[in-house]
């Protein structure tokens, strides 16, 4: 077990290195010139060159990469090319908004998906299953931004129950206000996660109920309820650990589309702005962070899985 963790951690280092190189290369291949965003019509070419030099953009690509790497090890992800703010600072500033939104959406999704998935899987082909199945089909097929627009139209524009966008009403500083703003984006995200989870749990339940040991449990006088809750549930929830591990990156990087539609001031919309402005330190910062979280999330999921599944736990 410990060996597994150490091994996975060691694998992370080259992975991150390659991710950063890949990311850097992508940005350097860009046809756009980031300096142009600083240029005003009455600037001298010398001024432009000075800006270029100041930003380190006149050095060879590998030097630029090394410079950036050096900064990164000092806990500094560089400075935005657009507003000259430290990237790390910008990202940290936006983490609460994103983590709050994504965390509540994930929690909601898991809490609803488990009973729905188990119910659907154990009542295969009855009306409850058909209904749950249909909902989850729609959930994986619906364009999330469209769902968001429709909900905004219904609940914010027509019914005036909820605010249209943003995270706070200007001038108001209450938690209630933030929650009200969060309901729609959170529901949209939760619905999308939920549908995937339900499908996993449902098919897992169906698969497990076909296993030989389940048949044998019946032969020892177990009722369907006992089989489902004492024997099948643990199996079925194991893959959810993996799914949640993968969601860990999203917890911080957020959902670009949802945040954009709702103008939610999270990291997703920061990334969106950065891409539009070719602000490569910001893009790389976000990319690296999310790659790191993805890797850590997978690692955590593997470790948790190892503890939850005796077949892995007891093999040392």
């Amino acid at each position: 077990m410990r060996q597994l963790i150490v091994r996975r951690l060691l694998q992370t280092i080259p992975l991150l290195f390659f991710v950063s190189i890949a990311c850097f290369a992508l940005v350097k291949l860009a046809p756009g010139d980031p300096v142009l965003s600083f240029v005003t019509p009455n600037m001298h070419p010398e001024d432009i060159e000075r800006i270029r030099h100041h930003l380190g953009l006149d050095q060879p690509a590998y030097m630029q990469y090394l410079l950036w790497l050096k900064e990164m090890f000092r806990g500094n992800l560089g400075y935005s090319l657009v507003n000259h703010q430290p990237v790390a600072h910008q990202i940290i500033e936006r983490i609460p908004a994103t983590a709050g939104l994504m965390g509540s959406a994930l929690l909601l999704a898991v809490l609803i998906a488990i009973p729905l998935g188990l119910a659907a899987g154990s009542q295969r082909n009855r009306w409850a299953d058909k209904l749950i199945n249909l909902i989850s089909y729609i959930g994986i097929s619906i364009p999330i931004f469209w769902l968001a627009i429709m909900l905004i139209y219904l609940f914010a524009i027509q019914l005036h129950w909820l605010p249209v966008m943003g995270m706070r009403t200007i001038g108001k500083e209450s938690a209630m206000d933030v929650i009200k703003h969060g309901i729609l984006p959170c529901s949209v995200l939760a619905f999308s996660f939920l549908s995937t989870y339900v499908r996993y749990i449902r098919s897992g339940t169906i698969g497990q109920l076909k296993e030989e040991y389940v048949q044998i449990q019946y032969a020892f006088g177990s009722s369907k309820r006992i089989v489902l809750f004492r024997h099948v549930m643990k199996h079925v929830l194991l893959p959810i650990i993996t799914l949640l591990g993968m969601s860990m990156a999203e917890l911080v990087t957020g959902a670009i589309v949802t945040e954009t539609v709702f103008s939610w001031p999270g990291i997703g919309s920061l990334g969106m702005t950065a891409v539009k402005g070719l602000d490569y330190p910001v893009i790389m910062g976000i990319t690296l962070l999310s790659a790191l979280l993805l890797i850590i999330g997978n690692l955590l999921a593997d470790i948790l899985y190892g503890f939850a599944d005796p077949r892995i736990k007891t093999t040392r």
């Binding site: 992975l15 390659f18 991710v19 890949a22 990311c23 992508l26 940005v27 291949l29 860009a30 046809p31 756009g32 089909y137 729609i138 994986i140 097929s141 619906i142 364009p143 999330i144 931004f145 469209w146 769902l147 627009i149 429709m150 905004i152 139209y153 524009i157 990156a249 990087t253 670009i256 589309v257 954009t260 539609v261 990334g271 969106m272 891409v275 539009k276 070719l278 893009i283 976000i286 990319t287 999310s290 790659a291 993805l294 890797i295």
Partner: protein, 281 residues
């Protein structure tokens, strides 16, 4: 591929009303996309006086903020969406199958290399990269297809690799190897035919994801550029008119949902029909 499998598939499809409905809807959508030019209205013809008109006999879906016929735009938009979805699936399927089969069959250092590469690509947040790429490369259908295709093959490769590993241990493959059949002969004659069902299922699901990705990209303004429309980009402008013309937002989104839903349903029917567990002896 095995004949019984095709028969099972046919039975599964015919016994499933939803499956037939999904196929019919898809057929209509595809026909609509192909026959878009038959539409009496030019999708890009502006009509300053007739803008934001609700649906009528002349304009079935109404008109948009430039007075363009929304029905014609939806038809042409569907053409692009379906084309991008289908082509991206082809790219992803080819890359995914080649990588998966090669990695699974040859194993060793090659497998190691390919799987590490795959891990790296998978740990890059794909949507961000997609956005970045579509800014960097010249936006257009071909670019879009390549970007989406290249960010979708990894799952396919993993599935195919696992299938290949399993197929490699089948006794008919061992026999072929022991009789001196070469690696490519074995892959072509014995491994690929066995995993065609898996490829078809995952390709069908990939069309669905590709269409969704394309619509998201276009919605954010990184996809097909104006004046050409796709369902996703039609929603971008519709969002701005949600107050005065909500139907503009309703229709393209509903079309995306319908299309993706149909592909997902068909994918599941294919899975049930093509991959029943081996008959118990």
């Amino acid at each position: 591929m095995n004949r019984t499998k095709w028969r099972n598939l046919k039975n599964e499809w015919l016994s499933n009303k939803i499956g037939i409905a999904a196929s019919v809807v898809l057929a209509i959508l595809v026909l609509g996309a192909i026959g878009a030019f038959l539409s009496p209205n030019d999708p890009n013809a502006l009509d300053v006086l007739g803008k934001l008109k609700p649906p009528s006999a002349n304009h079935w879906f109404g008109t948009d903020e430039y007075g363009r016929d929304y029905f014609a735009r939806a038809l042409y938009g569907g053409r692009v969406s379906l084309l991008v979805g289908f082509s991206a699936m082809i790219v992803a399927t080819i890359v995914g199958t080649v990588v998966g089969v090669v990695s699974g069959y040859f194993g060793g250092w090659l497998d190691n290399l390919l799987m590490r590469l795959l891990e790296i690509i998978m740990s890059i947040p794909s949507f961000l990269v997609m956005l970045l790429l579509s800014v960097l490369l010249k936006p257009g259908i071909v670019t879009l297809v390549i970007i989406i295709g290249l960010l979708m093959w990894m799952n396919m490769a993993r599935i195919i690799r696992a299938e290949t590993l399993a197929a490699k241990e089948r006794e008919y493959v061992l026999y072929a190897k022991a009789s001196g059949q070469g690696a490519f002969g074995i892959i072509l004659r014995h491994i690929l035919p066995g995993i065609v069902p898996v490829i078809i299922v995952s390709a069908t699901n990939n069309i669905a994801s590709a269409i969704l990705m394309e619509s998201s990209l276009s919605f954010l303004g990184f996809g097909i550029q104006p004046p050409n429309a796709t369902w996703g980009s039609m929603l971008t402008s519709a969002q701005g008119h949600i107050m005065d013309a909500p139907y503009l937002a309703l229709l393209p989104g509903a079309l995306i949902l319908l299309t993706v839903l149909c592909f997902n349903i068909l994918g599941d029917i294919l899975r049930v029909g093509l991959e029943p567990k081996l008959v118990k002896r």
